[in-house]
Every structure is written in C-alpha cells, then in structure tokens.
C-alpha cells in the first residue's frame, strides 16, 4: 500500500517534469522560435547523429508511403487518361469524317447541271455487296421530284441513272452494270461510241469507228443522244485500246470518271415537270 502510494507520487513527479519539459521545448519546435542556446546546441550536437538517422528513416518511410499513394493515383490517372485518349480518338475520327464529308459536299455543290436540269443531293443508303458495280439505293425518291431515268452524277462525272423510284428512295443503275449503255463522244475527236458496263470496276467502249484516232488517256463524255443523259458529262478515261483484225469498230477499256466503289453522296439531276 505504502509502496503503491510512493510509486504513484513518483509517477506524479515524473509526469510533472515531463510536462514542464514539454512546455519548455514546445517553443523550440515552434516556427517562430528556432534559435537554441549554448547548452541547447551542445545537446543537439550530441543528439545529432541519432537525429539524422531517425530523420533518414522517417524520410524513407514517408517516401515509401508517398510512392504507394502515387501508385494508386497513377493507376487512377492512367485509367482516366486512357478514357480521355479513347474519347479524343473518337472525336478525331468524327471530325475527320465530317471534314471528308464536307469536302465531298463542297465538290458536289460545285457541280453545275446543264439546263433544264436541277440537282437533288442524295446519300447512298444501301448497296448490294454481291452486285457492287451494278446498283445502289439513295435516300431520295418521288417525293423529292426524282423520276425514272434521271441521271445520277458526282462532281467527277457520271454515276448512272435512276431505274426504280419509291416515295423516299430510289435505285440507281450504275454505268458499270451490264444492262447500262451510254452514248459517248471522245472529247478530243468528237467521234461517237457507246460505253457499256461489265459488272467490274471497268467500262467497255464499243462501236467506235475504226478510223477514230483513239488513244490512251482520251476522255469520254456523254453525247446527249438518246435523251437520257445530257450532253457533256464525263463518263471515263480510255485506259487500253483494242483493235481486232477484220473488225469494223475498235473497242477500248475505260476507267469510270467517278470512283464507284466509294460513293457516299451523289446528285440526282431532276427535270422540271414541264420538261419531261
């Protein structure tokens, strides 16, 4: 009992000493009060090695903790940046698409249809993969004034003609369809011939006079004969001339003026009602 009492008193005394010491040294730790006295410097000098070691250990712990925190932050940031990159890629793709479309439309707008035709811009909405070079469907129909046999063009040249019309869509027979035949003129010599489809990406020029000086690179334009296509629309360029022995006419392989495999927008040349 006595021992317990004396122990408690000793504990109280030690606590008081510690408390007073804490009060005194609190000031040394405060930022406004950095200076220490002569004795303080001596004590600090003795404690310095231990202090440095403890400081280094504490720094290592703090660095490790920060590194751990940074790993978590980096993972979060990485995920966020990945999502951002993905969104930006989508945006770039969208803008590229919009830019490309704007360029195509700008060229289409530049196309001047001959009188009395007016043009209706149409978007290609369907294409049969098995008959890629024969037909396609556009999003304009009779409600837009489109009628059968209306010529379909792009700024580069002839695409084909409308052969089936629905209220809001129309099917177009491409010049590359074997059922298609277009009267043409060789632009340089004005000799007449007929371009027919081959169901491939090439056309065939037929019925051109053997005496015509046809050369590779000659441009073919619509002749205006037959009443379907107006005169002067580019149809294609001669790539190879074929002159068979004993034949009355010469033939040629023709590359279409329009890249028919990459059509997205076209112009339908509609005639006013009075002109039909």
């Amino acid at each position: 009992m006595i021992l317990a009492g004396s122990g408690r008193r000793a504990g109280l005394f030690v606590a008081l000493v510690v408390l007073a010491g804490a009060l005194l040294t609190l000031q040394l730790r405060s930022p406004e009060r950095r200076a220490v006295g002569l004795v303080g410097r001596a004590v600090l000098g003795l404690l310095l090695p231990a202090q440095v070691s403890l400081g280094r250990a504490a720094d290592a712990v703090v660095r490790s903790w920060r590194a751990l925190n940074e790993i978590g932050q980096l993972r979060t940031e990485n995920a966020r940046l990945r999502a951002e990159v993905e969104a930006l890629r989508r945006e770039v793709a969208r803008l590229q698409e919009a830019s490309s479309e704007a360029e195509r439309l700008r060229r289409l707008v530049g196309f001047r249809a001959p009188d009395p035709y007016a043009t209706v811009a149409a978007r290609v909405v369907a294409r049969d993969p098995s008959r890629w070079y024969t037909t396609l469907t556009v999003d304009r129909g009779s409600r837009d004034g489109v009628t059968r046999n209306d010529p379909v063009v792009t700024a580069d040249g002839l695409v084909g003609r409308v052969f089936e019309v629905y209220p809001s869509t129309a099917r177009v027979l491409l010049v590359t369809d074997p059922r298609s035949a277009v009267g043409v003129l060789v632009q340089s010599s004005r000799d007449a011939g007929v371009v027919e489809g081959t169901a491939t990406e090439k056309l065939r020029l037929r019925y051109l006079s053997r005496s015509s000086p046809l050369r590779e690179g000659d441009v073919l334009v619509t002749s205006g004969l037959g009443g379907v296509f107006p005169r002067g629309i580019r149809v294609g360029v001669v790539r190879a001339v074929v002159r068979s022995v004993g034949a009355l006419f010469q033939e040629a392989e023709v590359e279409p003026a329009t890249d028919l495999s990459r059509l997205e927008e076209v112009l339908v040349m509609v005639r006013p009602t009075a002109a039909r």
Partner: protein, 146 residues
C-alpha cells in the same frame, strides 16, 4: 532575472518544508506555471525550476531544522541561488537570452538578499497559520467536546 524579491519562491520554500517532496513539486509546478503565464517569458522555464525547487524543499523537510532565527533566511538565500542557477541552465537550454554573468550574479545576490529578508516573516506567518489550523482542528475534534 533582475534583483527583485520573489515572494512566490519564499512561500514555496516555506510550504515545501512542511510537505512531501512530490506534493511540494506539484505546488512548485503550479506556482511556476502561473509565474510563466504572468511573465510572458519562455513558457515552462519557471515551471521547471520551481518544480525542482519545491521537490528539493520537500526532500529536505526531514533534515532541515528551522529552530534558529537565521535558518529561514539562510534557507531562502540558498533556495534563491539554486532556483536562479536552474533558471540560468534552463534558459541556456531553451535558447533564451542569457544575461552576462556579472549582471546575473548581481541580480541573484540582490534577489537572495531580498528573499532572505522576507523569509523570516513568511516562515513565521506560515507557522502561525499552521498553529491556528491545528488549534482549530483540536477545538472541533469530537474527543475534546464536553
């Protein structure tokens, strides 16, 4: 640390001689803390010094006999010097401005003289209070009631 009387220190010494060391230390702690708070100096300086002075006074309670008229004065002078030395050391440790040694010695001597002069009065007053409380306790004791 100028040369002024320190009644707090003298009272602490007088009380400490009648208490257990730890109790005297607690008393010194509180007195020093009050002095620190009132003085505006380094907090903890007087707290620590008075704590040790109180503890020392309590520890000497059984060995010091105050039957001489000069004993309180001598005890107060010794206590003052001890307290001043402690404060000087703690000031150096805490980075407080330390006065030049001659000035410190002069101030300590003056304070010790003052404390030595007032110590007999304080000790005698305290003795009277203790006696008065003792007689009061005896008067109110149930054994002595008629």
């Amino acid at each position: 640390m100028g040369g002024a009387p320190e009644p707090v220190l003298v009272v602490l010494l007088a009380l400490g001689l009648r208490m257990e060391p730890e109790g005297a230390a607690l008393l010194g702690f509180l007195a020093g803390l009050l002095q620190d708070l009132a003085g505006g100096g380094a907090l903890g300086l007087f707290t620590m010094s008075k704590l040790w002075v109180g503890f020392a006074a309590g520890s000497l309670a059984r060995t010091v006999v105050l039957d001489s008229a000069w004993a309180p004065s001598a005890f107060a002078v010794a206590g003052t010097v001890a307290a001043r030395l402690l404060e000087l050391g703690l000031s150096a440790l805490a980075g407080e401005l330390i006065p030049p040694l001659p000035a410190w010695a002069r101030g300590t001597a003056v304070a010790a003289c003052y404390n030595g002069l007032i110590a007999p009065l304080v000790f005698a007053g305290l003795r009277r209070v203790v006696r008065w409380r003792g007689s009061l306790r005896l008067a109110t004791s149930p054994e002595l009631r008629p």
